[in-house]
Amino acid sequence: MIPFLPLGFSAPLVLLGLLSLPALWWLLRLIPPRPRTIFFPPTRLLFDIAPKEETPSRTPWWLTLLRLTLAALVIFAAAGPLWNPPVATSTGRTPLLILLDDGFPAASTWETRLRTADDVMARAEADGRGIALMPLSEPVRDISMQPASAARVRAQQLKPKPHAVERAEALPTITRFLRASPDAEIVWLSDGVDLGKSKDFVAGLAEAAQGRRVAIVDGGLTPPRALAGAENKAGALTVKVLRGADAGGISGIVRALDLKGLPLGDAPFTFSGSNRETDAELTLPVEIRNDVARLEIAGERSAGAVALLDKRWRRRSVGVITGATADTAQPLLASTYYLGRALGPFADVRMADRTSPSVAVGQFIDQRVPMMILADVGNVAGDARERLARWIDEGGVLVRFAGPRLAASDDDLVPVKLRRGGRTLGGSLSWDQPQALTTFAADSPFGGMAVPNDVTVSRQVLAEPDATLTERTWATLADGTPLVTAQRRGKGTLVLFHVTADTRWSDLPLSGAFVEMLKRVVSIAGTSSVESDVKAGEARETVAPARVLDGFGAFVPPTATARPVPAGFSERANADHPPGFYGPPEGLLAVNTLLPADRLTALDTSALTATREGYRVSEPQDLRGPILMAAMLLLLLDALIVFWLAGGIRRLMRRQRPAVAALALLALGAALMPCPQAFAQADDFAQKATLQTRLGYIITGDAEVDNISRAGLTGLNLFLAQRTALESGEPVGLDPSRDELAFFPLIYWPIVPGAAVPSQQTLQKIDTYMKQGGTVLFDTRDAVETLPGGGTNTRSSGMVALRNILASLDIPELEPLPRDHVLTKTFYLLKDFPGRFNSGQLWVEALPANDNEDEARPARGGDGVSSILITSNDLAGAWAMRPDGQPMLPLVAAEPRQREFAFRAGVNIVIYTLTGNYKADQVHVPALLERLGQ
């Protein structure tokens, strides 16, 4: 077994063979490689040439290295390497004492520990040895020798304990057992964590185990991690993350959950270097922080990785004392009411009722509240005043609100020197208007708050201006007088609001800013870690367990052995008091596995002479096969290299050169060609489609129809070039599933009856095209088949095919082309849109209903261009030209002018798609000209 590497050898002596490698190296260097053989006709002439003095060309160093590696691998394989070799115990027939650490540090890797234990026991079973299994958490239970099979069953039923285990307690039992069975061998499956008196245990064990074989199994696993000392600090909820070793488990996440187990937030943590503790900081709003009942390390299944929080961690207690006695007459207008409502969401407000301020102050200081509010208390008299000053020095936060009493008194427990008497603004005798709040001092706790514009102050107490006034000011009114001043005294802070806590002097208590300001003041107050309102008499009161943690850190109903804890219980959890929540639901008391001061220190077993091994993460693996395989591969490689050095490859290449070259080229081509080609094709297509305006048509797959579409659009192009300013390029056949459609203003889509409906993706593409302003001209080419007077409800095969296609498209409402549609006027004035047939209707997107005032307009355009046009007149058939300029197909009607009209229809449609409703706007030209005074 090599330390720190789970690698062992079944025949380690064979490794001595590695010593022969230098000799082999010397030999390999001497023997030159086999020469290339060449049939050379004039060889006989070479006989006459005197042989040169030649140093034989040496074997290249890398080849030597390769061969040495090969030899080393073979020797290595012969030594029988094992990955994860089983824990080495002697193979005697003596009994085996297995000590199992089953405290919370073992929980997260419990299965692996049990597997190692089982492995040891399985081999003991094979050797016919008796086993005494001793979980160290059960010190009082006597150790009994068992057959290995029974011990294995028992081990499977063991569960880790949720609390720290004091190993030393088990020492007497172990000593007794060892005395009874003097030949027993000891295997200690340790968790490597020392939580106190482990030194005694190690020393005791060393004494008891003198002269025996001892094996300590430790390490090789991710170290246990634990949480301790959660603290609800000013800005965040912090918790110490501990780990049981100097390495491993470097980073993770601490998750905060509420009582119902819902996650509230995450905080990452990282151990730097070999530190064994780090901090995780949960920055959550105070209200949410107060709901946190449980912190746990995500993914760590251990009771130690859970920290339970109860009321003590939640809110800061704020004592509120008012100087007014008549407040209770109108409780909803009293300053205590405003303060209670404002503080309620994030602090525990305690009212001093019906006592004088001095008495109340004394009580609150006894209760060790971190913050006190004096609302318009003029003077704290006597003894309480001294205590209050001392309390501030020790870290208390005192917030005072002004009022008639404070203004009238002469108290120096204020941050700044005050003028006697208040100032009234905006009153009938005052020159000034009520002042608004304007600034928060940037370096104060209020820094960064938005300045509310709904706060006006009509009365205040004024500070004597002096040098320190500005730096003590946290908030200022528009005229520069302070609204809030503060001063640090000792470790504490003294804050003065220069207005009352009710609405008599200002709107401040009604404003949202009031809550925010108080929240920030509260957050500078320290946390009260120990609630001291537990009176001495109540200390004996006990609370029963409500929910406890099992060893894996999950809540379970209280076990039978769990006993109630005193109400003020603040010790480490133990076997009698497992970690968990105790007491009634409204006043839960959390008992944690670890105390805030606990640290996971490493177990020092140096006093014990023992073999030390790591846990086995996986089954032992025989490495002979893979290593021999690697050696074979190297041998093959070596053979190939020798073959190559001797020119074999070249000979092979010569014979099959053309074929090999062709193959290589083909492979290369196959690998390289398609991508650039595909890109080039797409680029070509885009260039071709955009360098000129082009009309597109859908390739239906019916060659005849596609020919006619193409010829038709070509004919229309010609006509357009002759009659209009548009000289469009060659029409482009499109496969909507493959080609980009966005380049084309108009796509002609002849419907072939029975054609397959395009795929969903294709339809989406078409839909996108239409939505983005393209126009599709569907032509069912079957007007001649429809019955005369069949109306709009035609059932012709083309219509059915078209409906199949359109069924999955998002089609707007359609209507037969109205007479005043702009399409009839975009270039020619048209009444209908004939093609080869003239009985079909042209359908367009329905225009918005005609407003009465526009009745007189000759053309209506709607907004934008109709994205869909449907006809059945076979327009392309009428446009189609043979290369000699003669029409391709005959028209149905005998009237020769119909072809001309069909072309005009085409022109109107194309110009419509290109110019939109421009012609509809043209009707305004006379009116515009008239307005210009022409």
Partner: protein, 309 residues
């Protein structure tokens, strides 16, 4: 060795098949080759060869007046009956010449540099066939020592190809135990890498009857430039042994000097006999060698000393 032999036979057959096609097209590019008349003036006639003058022969040449003193039997009575004079019918003087062509088909000839399409064997056969074709068209008789008897028929090339394809004998570098008839002509196409003694012996043997001849050394470019480096074991393809060069690049200069000496020695021998010695590299076109041979064979004998082609 059996497998190697079979492979060489297979390659030879392929070369023969290829060469008979290539030779035809090559031969078609050359004019008929008429050997120097002087050389054959007194030859024992093995074949016919029109000499553009009256003499013994089969075909009519001219009628001439009977000169008294001639044997009366010479008079052509049929012609003489047409007028008062007596005429003698003269035939064209016909003489034929025998040329032996020896293409070396030994194993060493199969060698070719990796980047060349033709081996030396290819080239030797192409030249042999083309030369045979040209000569036959010129009226000469062509044979291959030990393989094809001299013949003047137009299909001599096919005949040569056929008999080579079915030749059971061992392929030797140089024609052994062969002595041409006097006044015939010999063309030896070989790489001539045999030791000088063998070459010398061959020349003595061939020229014993006063035969004229041409020695052509066909070499591969690799055999001249020696483009090898590193540790190389050179094997003589005909089983004459191997030699290993540790750093072949160091041997280049010595090798080139050795080649030059070998050639100089051969050339000395041929010059002594008045034969021509031509060196041909397979990366040069075949027609170049054929033209050179054409020139050498058509030229008067005195100028027939070797020029490299």
């Amino acid at each position: 060795m059996m497998a190697a032999d079979k492979r060489i036979l297979r390659e030879e057959r392929a070369a023969v098949a290829h060469a008979s096609g290539a030779a035809l097209s090559l031969a078609a590019t050359l004019p008929r080759l008429l050997l120097d008349a002087r050389r054959v003036a007194a030859t024992v006639i093995h074949g016919v060869h029109g000499r553009r003058r009256a003499g013994p022969g089969e075909s009519f040449w001219q009628y001439r007046r009977f000169v008294s003193g001639e044997p009366a039997g010479k008079v052509d009575w049929r012609r003489s009956a047409r007028d008062d004079n007596l005429y003698v019918r003269e035939q064209e003087w016909e003489a034929a010449h025998t040329i032996w062509i020896w293409p070396d088909r030994s194993r060493s000839m199969v060698f070719s540099s990796p980047n060349l399409p033709h081996s030396k064997l290819d080239r030797a056969l192409v030249i042999s066939f083309a030369l045979a074709q040209v000569l036959v068209e010129g009226g000469e008789r062509v044979g291959v020592p030990g393989l094809v008897r001299p013949s003047g028929s137009r299909n001599v090339m096919d005949k040569m190809a056929q008999s080579m394809a079915h030749d059971p004998a061992e392929r030797t570098s140089l024609p052994t135990s062969f002595a041409p008839a006097p006044h015939s002509e010999v063309v030896v196409l070989s790489d001539l890498w045999s030791p000088l003694s063998e070459v010398k012996q061959l020349l003595t043997q061939l020229s014993s009857n006063g035969t004229h001849g041409h020695i052509v050394q066909i070499v591969d470019p690799a055999e001249e430039t020696f483009p090898y480096s590193g540790r190389v074991e050179f094997v003589e393809p005909e089983g004459a042994g191997t030699i290993t060069a540790g750093r072949a690049e160091n041997w280049k200069a010595d090798y080139e000097a050795r080649i030059a000496r070998h050639r100089a020695e051969i050339r000395a021998e041929t010059d002594k006999l008045g034969w021509s010695f031509i060196i041909h590299r397979t990366d040069r076109p075949a027609s170049e060698l054929l033209l050179a041979l054409h020139a050498h064979m058509g030229a008067p004998r005195d100028t027939g000393s070797g020029r490299a082609a």
